[in-house]
Symmetry: C2
Subunit: 324 residues, 2 copies
């Protein structure tokens, strides 16, 4: 046990809530995760059972830091988490229907203040507090996972908008033609249909079916191709795979050039599985950005990859809300 148990309120709890698992971290003011605890999210169809299980699972870790009285607050990053209401609202991939007053439930169970936001905003908080966006007042976080999320920071604060759901750049429509790809949101042509991991797989299937050049990707079941397969093929010099990243990155960079007109960010910070493709994706992002940005904004924004480890970033991001 560490010797700072007597310092008051030296820790925060961060919760990264996913559809499958919930990761709790106890974090100190320097952003060190002192301990992590995982429980299943989907094992608890009743939210009250979930909160009870979470508090029980957290107890040994809390004892390690001298008890809950040394914890200033809790931050939760959750799908459809609403900062204003403290609720999770109609999250499609969680077991709890409708509106879940998650902040209130944890406040009652733990006796500490609790804040909620969505996962992309939590990631932005993490970058601003502990990552590559430290010290920045204006930046845009873009998370590239199964979908595309975003967290927008203006003047040092997350933009929550009028309803707590602002910063949905993944649903910015980049193709308004009838050929725009069908999105899960019910509309067509949203950015996330193209630049998410699933978007990359769709692009792969599209290019492979329309064209005849050889490609290592043709050895795979088209319905099962992943962005990781495309990455591996690109690494082996596969031209089609490179073209898929070129298309994806250029479109994303061009979109960021458009997003610049909102808040002229100091940086775009990219996070998530797709960034592991390295320069295969980052080079075309840079080109798409440089070739399309308004002249007065040229060279002003950095295009950065998150410096936080994937497994820690979400917990750290959520925990940053606990200091508020």
């Amino acid at each position: 046990m560490e010797n700072n148990a007597k310092e008051e309120k030296s820790y925060v709890i961060g919760l990264d809530m996913g559809g499958t698992n919930s990761v709790f971290g106890i974090v100190d003011s320097r952003g060190t995760i002192k301990s992590q605890t995982v429980i299943s999210t989907k094992a608890y169809p009743d939210i009250n059972d979930y909160v009870k299980a979470a508090v029980e699972a957290l107890q040994p870790a809390l004892d390690m830091v001298g008890g809950i009285e040394n914890v200033r607050g809790m931050g939760i990053g959750a799908p459809n988490g609403n900062y204003y209401t403290g609720n999770i609202e109609y999250a499609a991939n969680l077991a709890w229907p409708g509106i879940v007053p998650i902040a209130k439930l944890f406040e009652e169970a733990l006796g500490i203040p609790c804040r909620v936001t969505n996962d992309a905003n939590a990631a932005a908080m993490g970058e601003m507090t502990y990552g590559v966006a430290r010290g920045m007042k204006n930046f845009i976080m873009i998370t590239l996972g199964t979908g595309v999320g975003s967290g927008i920071v203006c003047d040092g604060k997350i933009v929550y908008g009028s309803d707590g759901f602002a910063g949905e750049l993944g649903h910015f429509v980049v193709d308004h033609t009838p050929e725009g790809r069908q999105c899960g949101c019910g509309r067509k042509g949203c950015l996330e249909c193209y630049t998410s991991a699933t978007g990359v797989a769709r692009t792969a299937r599209e290019i492979l079916s329309k064209r005849t050049e050889p490609s290592k990707l043709r050895d795979l079941d088209p319905e099962k191709i992943t962005s990781y397969d495309v990455y591996c093929a690109a690494e082996e010099g596969d031209e089609i795979a490179k073209e898929i990243f070129e298309f994806t990155g250029y479109l994303l960079g061009r979109s960021c050039a458009d997003f610049c007109t909102f808040n002229t960010p100091e940086a775009f910070v990219f996070f998530g599985g797709l960034t592991k493709a390295g320069d295969w994706i980052m080079d075309p992002i840079r080109r798409g950005y440089d070739e399309n940005v308004l002249h007065i904004f040229r060279g002003k924004a950095k295009l950065l990859v998150s410096s936080l480890k994937g497994s820690e970033a979400a917990v750290l991001g959520a925990s940053a809300l606990g200091w508020e």
Copy 2:
């Protein structure tokens, strides 16, 4: 003379600086313009002469309110006005080249604090302080004049971004194809090429040249058609004129639907000459918005026309900065 000369710092000065004229207003805390003074902007190729002339012209109005000691500050809305630096930077339609430290010059000449921003941000300040956006914390102002400007308000504050030039939605690219219209910014397909007054005239010329239906607009020199001509023709039932507004409004509404993803505004406030076309433009804006907005944002944002009189709005908006 009014009887409140003894109240300290009861007034602010607002300056609406255009390429041709500069309008100064002395404004009280209720947003009443007590007096207006106009000088020529372009008559002074030397900025020092301009400031000197302005101060001289303002003197009688200042005497009316008990002198400069009753004025809390000055706000300036100017092309390329930068809130952070207090400078006008490389304004194409002003006589002064390069960087003009306009705030500093007026602070020295008048002895009161002075703030600068661009005209669209000043309009947003005006709406927030005195107009239809009073009490709103999140809204987007869209000015539809020769160009398209915007002022974005998040959490009660204008978004200035990292460089003071944020909120350039007129240069959001809405047509990324090679057919996108050439913009004055050097790129193609910017929103302002379509939804400004000049954009409407371009659309008129394009439709008239491509099509053969009769139209009152064919009686005019195509190079001289204005958005007002199109409005008059629409009022007389001209189908081509109605189609021009339909195209313009729908594209603008659709773009606003996309802009929603940024800060989920409570309202979009439209200002400028084009709004005088009334429902000819507002109906398709509403349709374009409703048909394209992300479902979770549906029905949340109002689509409003500025309630401030055109001649007063810019001065009031600029003056609002004087209270800061």
